[in-house]
């Protein structure tokens, strides 16, 4: 594809309020040319609002949107050259596939021959040439999405926006389209912002993920960082599964904090914390960061199995700790794996994803 090289997109201090509701709160994002960035967060966290601000459908309360360092905030949508694929595709129902794709070039006043060439090229890119005279309602969901993508790429947009692109597709098709869009994005090198509430989608497709919560940017980092080094308790629990062990800070050294767990045991976390000694802390560990075994040893935590689920090559445990909290563990299924009764929980080295202040404990104590 003769796509121009990617453009940089910058959000600088973007805030937006709908009356009392703050949908975006001083969001800063620096998106590099050719990058695929996901906006990830639960429903209502402000993802679509950000997308609408970038596209120009919504004027931000404050802040600036820049493409290649130049502000586009004053430009109306139709002069931004930012392509958007809607969740419901929003194909023009009264136009054929080819007419839909030709819409942008015609609006831009391109000569007929050039428009026809672009339409044919885009139909080939999304492998829909055989469907050029169909109406949108005569297409399947996946085909409609390809057309929506082709229509959008036909204007050679500087930025591509995708709003929940796979949520309307069934599971099998979803993976196909994810691979397809990833391939197209790589080939064309177009800077892409994708909105999703599906963490697997974000982890699998993105170069970087911006995790949003109630209008705030919680973390902006590559998927592996988001998963292994979440910046907040929200990110840790929203992305992947997190076990939270109650503890208090026992000591702080150059190599990180040591914490005292509920049964009195002190462990080195290898993580830094801004909390002071004695403060209540939640120690976050992913299910695959621990191991259950029948034998104890140094650093092993006493627990009781409440449920075991063998799933293919893996075993999923739910065990209860001495303070009553329950913990999920995923490990390989081995012949001598315990299936019931008292067991020991081992933390694998360097697998603690974070130490977060424990506010629930405060209220708990006050309640007593």
């Amino acid at each position: 594809m003769s796509q121009s090289a990617g453009h940089a997109l910058t959000l600088r201090g973007i805030s937006h309020a709908f009356g009392q509701v703050v949908a975006a709160n001083a969001i800063d994002l620096d998106i590099r040319p050719g990058e695929l960035v996901s906006l990830l967060g639960p429903s209502g966290c402000g993802k679509t609002t950000l997308l609408k601000i970038i596209a120009g459908f919504l004027r931000q309360t404050s802040g600036d949107v820049l493409v290649d360092g130049a502000s586009i905030s004053h430009l109306p949508t139709n002069r931004r050259r930012i392509g958007i694929v809607f969740q419901n595709y929003a194909l023009f129902p009264h136009m054929s596939v080819a007419q839909n794709i030709a819409y942008g070039p015609i609006a831009a006043g391109r000569p007929k021959a050039e428009t026809d060439a672009v339409v044919s090229e885009m139909l080939d890119v999304v492998q829909m040439a055989a469907f050029r005279d169909r109406l949108p309602r005569e297409l399947s969901g996946g085909q409609q999405q390809r057309v929506a993508l082709a229509r959008c790429l036909a204007i050679r947009p500087r930025i591509l926006l995708l709003d929940e692109p796979f949520s309307a597709l069934d599971k099998n098709l979803r993976l196909d389209m994810q691979i397809e869009i990833k391939r197209l994005q790589r080939q064309s090198g177009i800077t892409t912002v994708m909105v999703t509430h599906d963490q697997e989608e974000a982890l699998g497709m993105s170069d970087r993920i911006a995790v949003l919560s109630r209008g705030n940017l919680e973390q902006f980092a590559p998927p592996s960082d988001i998963y292994d080094r979440p910046a907040s308790l929200f990110v840790n629990t929203f992305v992947g599964t997190a076990n939270l062990l109650r503890a208090t800070v026992a000591g702080i050294s150059a190599s990180g904090a040591a914490v005292r767990l509920a049964d009195g045991m002190v462990i080195e976390t290898g993580r830094e914390t801004t909390l002071s000694v004695g403060a209540a802390v939640l120690v976050a560990v992913r299910p695959e960061g621990m191991r259950v075994s029948a034998t104890g040893g140094a650093g092993a935590i006493g627990a009781e199995i409440t449920a075991v689920m063998p799933i293919g090559p893996a075993l999923i445990y739910e065990v209860t700790l001495i303070d009553g909290s329950s913990v999920k563990v995923v490990q390989e299924r081995e012949a001598d794996a315990p299936l019931a009764g008292p067991v020991f929980l081992h933390l694998k080295p360097n697998r603690i994803t974070g130490l977060f202040p424990d506010h629930s404990g405060d209220t708990h104590k006050k309640g007593n």
Partner: protein, 285 residues
């Protein structure tokens, strides 16, 4: 076993009361009307023929009345569309609260009597009415315009009186258009006008046709408005039928005129329906 799933053979019985109602109050009078129209004698002696139809169609004055009626309806409907479309469009763009206010204002004419509204218009359009006073004050004309008892007046008042019939179907259709379509058009580089003419207008065509059919049929048959605003010098089909039947007691001729009028209007409606069918088929299959 199949009985539970198959529609019961006697389900149609549920439609009987409605069918009886229609037969009694709609089909029967209509049948009677058509039957009477074939009476060749004014005294309805039972001699049947096409004499009444021939009498109507052979007189140029009668045909002029039919033409004027169909034309005045077309003009009023066009005026309705011209003012109703932007109004309906506005209704779908404002906040929910303003939308309620606007729709209330649109529907308001329906809840007042046609007679009351028409008399109000007489006051407004008269030689010394609000419109003429304004025109004179602004110096737009040296003499008061003849709005009352003129075709222009009839068209204006018909358009106002029947406005809800145009606006309500339009609002329904415009509201059904996915707002993302307009956004998509803008993002593809189209300005507001192109977006309107290429996306919004074509997609609202079913509503335009529905509104046009309702407004048109209401306008051509609006006896009260046509007579009161048009005055005695302008004659339209409903008044003609009334005069033939009530003043001249010529029931067979009145019936024949009614049938001719009905068929003319139905032909126009059928054309509009055919047009909307072909559009709807393309849009919604």
């Amino acid at each position: 076993m199949a009985g539970a799933l198959d529609p019961k053979p006697r389900d149609w019985a549920l439609a009987l009361p409605l069918a009886a109602f229609f037969a009694l109050f709609f089909i029967a009078p209509l049948g009677l009307l058509v039957a009477i129209s074939f009476e060749t004698e004014r005294q309805m002696t039972g001699t049947l023929g096409l004499g009444q139809y021939a009498a109507f169609l052979s007189d140029g004055l009668n045909l002029a009345v039919l033409r004027d009626t169909l034309l005045v309806g077309a003009k009023a409907t066009l005026l309705c569309l011209l003012f109703g479309y932007p109004l309906a469009w506005l209704c779908t763009k404002v906040s929910a609260r303003w939308q309620a206010v606007l729709i209330f204002l649109v529907v308001l004419p329906i809840v007042t009597s046609v007679v009351v509204r028409t008399f109000a218009w007489i006051v407004i359009l008269g030689r010394h009415g609000i419109v003429n006073e304004t025109i004179l004050a602004l110096g737009l004309s040296a003499q008061p315009l003849k709005l009352l008892f003129s075709e222009t007046g009839v068209v204006i008042v018909l358009a106002q009186v029947q406005m809800p019939l145009m606006v309500l179907p339009l609002i329904t259709t415009l509201q059904r258009i996915d707002p993302n379509l307009e956004s998509a058009s803008r993002a593809l580089g189209a300005g507001a006008w192109r977006t309107f003419f290429k996306v919004t207008l074509p997609l609202s065509l079913p509503g335009i046709i529905a509104g046009t059919i309702l407004t048109y049929t209401a306008c051509v048959t609006a006896f009260v408005t046509q007579s009161l605003i048009g005055g005695s010098r302008l004659l339209f089909m409903p008044m003609m039928i009334f005069q033939q039947a009530m003043d001249l007691q010529n029931w067979p001729f009145a019936a024949a005129v009614s049938v001719i009028f009905m068929v003319s209007v139905l032909l126009i409606v059928a054309m509009l329906v055919a047009l909307s069918r072909s559009r709807a088929a393309r849009l919604y299959g």
